[in-house]
Homo-oligomer: 521 residues x 2
């Protein structure tokens, strides 16, 4: 049992799922947490000159720029990279991938359906603020398919490494477990009063959960898919998978993947790529964004903040009343600054994810011939996942996600390889799921987020103890300097977390302005 | 326990789910069923004149026309209605609803997103033939959202009739049941050898199923949704729903709705309406389809078939080498014919569904403010379901499905009312889920399939005994007359079933032509 991928591993990693539950339990135990409704801060228009410098044009920086600019703040955004968006990065024909050591150019065909979301790629229905911005910024949304019962599950430990359909893996497991439970459970064992009706209800729940027969035996189920789909003949069930093989499978968290808070259906994606959101913000505040301007020095003063940045080899120092800073903390730690000791220690205390992704342009949408029109196949190999596009259905070509490593060891392994070697490894592993995988590959892009320039890490890897020790320290402004970004949220790795951090900071600035200057009082 | 909606009720009704499992068990017990791969029949081109008359331009009729026409058969399609498509019916601005007694005209705004699929509305990824035709006929597909954990579950029996989110209903139920099971299950109770590792695996399965804590207690879960989404604070879990209230809920089949063979993610829908498929076929064979031509008499001869139909008040008799007939059996029984006794008895032996649907144009997409962007809310009231569109996200208006009755009693109840009364009832019931529901309604359409002209019934309600007694009788040709349609398939109510029936018939015709005429021998 040395390499079980538990749900917790998954939750921790890369913010692929918000690491909420464990965190809650630690915090809730303290009885500290009121239920708070999140609303977008309604900040007051400003009547006097207030210079705001935003460091980093990721989603949090763009959110802050958008909100403050329209209220009359004098906003400037400094972005180190040649592009805005931060980890919101969609790769398509001609995109540059600015990885240190391994710069790449995306060679996908020029085609609106051939793109790859290298960072965030899905939006749940309760990510209310992000969805509101999509609406406001005219970003068209389409359903995103996360869970697909027709996709594959592959584990070298079971069935000799042969993939099985997710529907068989899940539903045959349910069937066998339900049968065991039904055999074992006894009314007398249960504490507390339980009426006969309740007892029958419970048994019926188990029966339906596993789709057991009236004698509470698991005899197979059409939920696992039919042996044939010739609907002019009576349905033939597949033979259930061997329970002993199923028991060998070690990554059971996918059994409940579709139930997790941030991953449950239904989810959405912007039509044409996640960076349509960046485009939307840039239409509003692009004129305030200065690219290729790398921050060198931050000096918090009694009033305001001085920031020095380098642009075209020149050093420029500028003053601001407020600074909102979404530079990744691991990079910020290396910038010259005068932050208090505790704050600067915090900058280095939070590990970062090593999320790695590959996107491959496939010359044929071969997965559609397998009845897969979106969603995720899972494997315990390094690549961990294969995603199929649910846009461009039935077109000739498509881009698949060929690796998505939330296991940092796998991320490191891939990152050490050159891009062609990475693709070779991903194809080798993907071939265990789709035997002819390699023959469809036309070209690919690879993203090691912890090697990407101006980034050098993926989402912050908060743990309950880290939250407790460092979160407030980092979230609280230092003078007029605010740290923002998904890194200062309880949902790192999600754009909604980035937006929340920006809202938190601008609400505070607004309060200071109202109190200190009585603009609206 | 008088009105439990069991999964079986659901399966039976209206073909909303293919009624496969129960059927299989009866048939499989006989050991009769080989596993057969379904492939589209590769029929030979015809070199001599072969007149084929197709009765009914539903999906099966159009499929047969398309396949036979391109192989050189002389095809004519007679359709009684003013439109092709059969139960594949999309309603939009100006559509006529040809219900006997209650003709309606759809008053939705003229807008590509404002449509209502009154018949089939979703396509699973394994409905291979239908999907192939979509590709071939240039029908653009988009993901369809069936299951949505953010949607509502409402049952007067629980929580005083107040709706709860599907994610809470499902996951809190899982939590409580898992805790009970974990408490009750004992290793010694299980038959057969089980290693300690297996035992731990089983316990871990139960723990993850319910997301129990390390002591196997259910303490709530983020799967059920958070109390707030202010991601700048630690997550606050919702208080789990009361287990005793959950136990009162009687429609547990939705617990596994997303696992059922034909309903599991991911599913698709044609962009712009299901009738894009009809349009696609009609682009190919529309010139062969004669509308408003009602069949009056069918006379099977030693060779060929004579068919008399009425058009513009005239009676026309025409001869064909083959007839493929998708007239609903309950109507066909009333047509003058010379079918053998057994066959004609079969025509009246299969009951039909009374599926009823309402589509309402809403002046605002209020559900999106509730975090619902597609999928289904469930209720035990007559309306049974509310569907939200996953197309046109964030636009001003949308069309919701406001009733989908697979319970025939509810279908009858609605059908007896006038269209305004139907809408009033649906709004009254929908208001238990969305309190302000009524104020958004602009107009609506109502469809009682068992009162629709030229239809007078929804999908055939096959039961295991009926299949055994009648299926082969009805499927087998009478001379050169073939009964087709989803009514002669093991998946009635699904277009894939209709297509399968057409394929079955044309393969037989092809075989007869090859043998009888040695065209390709």
């Amino acid at each position: 049992m040395s390499r079980i991928l538990s749900r917790r591993d998954f939750l921790r990693a890369a913010g692929a799922v918000g690491g909420s539950t464990a965190v809650f339990r630690a915090a809730a135990a303290l009885g500290l947490l009121p239920a708070v409704a999140a609303a977008r801060p309604q900040i007051a228009a400003i009547r006097k000159s207030r210079k705001v410098l935003i460091l980093g044009a990721g989603i949090s920086g763009l959110t802050a720029a958008y909100e403050l600019h329209r209220k009359g703040y004098d906003v400037q955004v400094l972005e180190a990279s040649f592009r805005a968006g931060g980890r919101n990065l969609t790769l398509r024909h001609g995109s540059r991938i600015d990885e240190t050591g391994y710069p790449q150019v995306c060679e996908f065909d020029k085609d609106p359906d051939l793109f790859f979301n290298a960072g965030p790629a899905r939006i749940p229905g309760h990510h209310q603020h992000l969805l509101e911005y999509c609406k406001e910024l005219d970003v068209e949304l389409a359903p995103f398919i996360n869970d697909n019962r027709n996709a594959w599950v592959q584990d070298d430990a079971m069935f000799g490494g042969k993939p099985v359909r997710a529907r068989e893996y899940l539903n045959d497991s349910r069937g066998f477990v339900a049968e065991l439970m039904a055999k074992s459970i006894r009314k007398d064992d249960l504490t507390g009063p339980m009426s006969s009706a309740d007892w029958e209800q419970l048994r019926e729940y188990i029966r339906q959960f596993g789709e057991l027969d009236p004698q509470f035996r698991y005899m197979g189920t059409s939920r696992s898919g039919l042996a044939s789909h010739d609907y002019t003949r009576a349905d033939v069930l597949k033979k259930p998978l061997s329970p002993s093989e199923l028991m060998k499978s070690r990554f059971m968290f996918i059994m409940s993947f579709g139930e997790t808070d941030d991953q449950a259906a239904m989810m959405m994606e912007p039509v044409g790529g996640m960076d349509r959101i960046v485009d939307g913000f840039m239409r509003q505040v692009g004129h305030l964004v200065q690219l290729e301007s790398q921050v060198q020095k931050i000096r918090v003063k009694e009033r305001g903040v001085d920031v020095t940045y380098r642009r075209n080899g020149e050093y420029v120092t500028t003053q601001a009343d407020y600074v909102l800073n979404c530079i990744p903390v691991q990079l910020l730690a290396g910038v010259e600054h005068n932050f208090p000791k505790d704050f600067s220690t915090g900058l280095t205390a939070i590990p970062r994810g090593k999320l790695f992704k590959i996107g491959l342009q496939m010359k044929e949408r071969f997965w559609e011939k397998e009845g897969i029109f979106g969603g995720i196949s899972w494997t315990l190999q390094d690549i961990q996942q294969i995603w199929y596009p649910a846009h461009g259905i039935h077109r000739q070509k498509g881009v698949v996600l060929a690796a998505y490593t939330f296991d940092p060891r796998a991320g490191e392994k891939f990152a050490r390889l050159s891009p062609p070697e990475r693709i070779r490894l991903a194809v080798e592993q993907g071939s265990k799921i789709h035997p002819d995988y390699g023959k469809y590959v036309e070209n690919g892009v690879t993203i090691a987020w912890h090697q990407m320039n101006h980034m050098l890490g993926c989402a912050a890897q908060w743990e309950p103890e880290l939250f407790q020790r460092w979160f407030t320290t980092l979230q609280k402004p230092v003078g007029s300097h605010y740290l923002i970004g998904d890194q200062v949220s309880y949902h790192p790795g999600w754009q909604e977390g980035a937006i929340a951090s920006a809202h938190h900071a601008i609400a505070d600035i607004d309060a200071r302005e109202r109190l200190g200057n009585a603009v609206t009082a």
